[in-house]
Symmetry: C2
């Protein structure tokens, strides 16, 4: 029994330490991407913030792009976890509002990595990253299903193609209006979320 079970916690402990360190790294990268974006974030900064040597960082991730991609995979996982946590019985429109509200709260908390710019090296790296694409597809499929049902039951506008609605929901996760309003200081975070949520779902025109 000892000869069988003894090595297990040994390797498990090592692997656990490794994973804990990687989680700390990715969490730091996530925060820095939210604060300053991919181009302005430096690898030295990441290492210093985690409290390890830069060379140690490269033992875990082979490049700066891979570092950022891991953070993008993490936020996609968190998003999917949130989607899975929503009551299945809720109307699709309620769930869609809930996820947009959640992404805005994440952004206001400084935990939403900003999308890479069009001609970024990160963009190209993400488009070749299977783990990221799989997660993105998973979230898109879940949201896409809800959008179609919401349009079918009349809660959501049927004038708009589902893909346009999907992109619009994604874009709200990095809407600069949230930051502008926060800097303005006139409204609380909760008020900002509800205001932008209203512009998104109800529109600017009077109803």
């Amino acid at each position: 029994m000892n000869t069988v079970t003894a090595p297990v916690p040994k390797t498990s402990f090592k692997a656990q330490m490794l994973l804990a360190r990687e989680e700390a790294i990715v969490q730091t990268v996530n925060r820095l991407l939210a604060e300053k974006g991919f181009e302005s974030m430096t690898v030295d900064e990441v290492a210093a913030s985690v409290g390890i040597a830069k060379a140690s960082l490269y033992k875990h991730f082979p490049s700066k792009e891979d570092l950022a991609a891991a953070a993008m995979v993490r936020i996609m996982k968190r998003t999917q976890d949130f989607l899975d946590s929503l009551p299945a019985a809720d109307p699709p429109m309620t769930k869609l509002r809930a996820v947009v509200r959640w992404t805005m709260e994440v952004q206001l908390a400084g935990e939403m990595p900003s999308l890479p710019h069009q001609n970024s090296t990160l963009r190209a790296a993400l488009m070749n990253n299977r783990a990221y694409l799989d997660r993105l597809m998973e979230v898109s499929n879940t949201l896409g299903g809800w959008i179609q049902v919401a349009q079918a039951d009349g809660a959501m506008s049927s004038k708009l193609p589902a893909i346009v609605v999907l992109y619009t929901l994604f874009a709200r996760a990095c809407d600069p209006v949230l930051e502008f309003l926060k800097v303005g200081g006139l409204y609380s975070d909760a008020q900002i979320v509800e205001l932008v949520l209203s512009t998104c779902f109800d529109g600017l025109a009077a109803r």
Copy 2:
């Protein structure tokens, strides 16, 4: 007469050459800012694209930030010119839709410099740039007036503070949804503009 008029075209010619060069520089910077953003745009790239030496660039603009600020001032001027060109008799809501449509067309044409990120050196430079702040204020005041009238006459939702509406309109100028839909290739530029315009003014919820 000659002694009076002769020197005028001489200095005017020199100044005209200077201004023409500066306009060429700023136009190039504007395009590059739209393509890749401030952090990824290099000064060497601007010089090469304009067709002058990098050192010559610094004869006109003292820093990379000033180069970018000149492009931001230029787009603000273009925006104000467009606002002034709108028929004064048009309802405010019509004019607000027109300006959002115009900014989207500019973005799709690759001529809308993307907003600097939160913790960018450019952001700080712009906040200390009188010319930029004056232009921004001018555009904001014009739009702000129209928003108030549109809310008073019932065309625009009165639930939303005017400042939220103003920021939302500004944010549409750099909405990533346009680029995503363009990359998707399913819709023409004109269709993309009308679709996103609908999400902005009518919202995602059915009416």
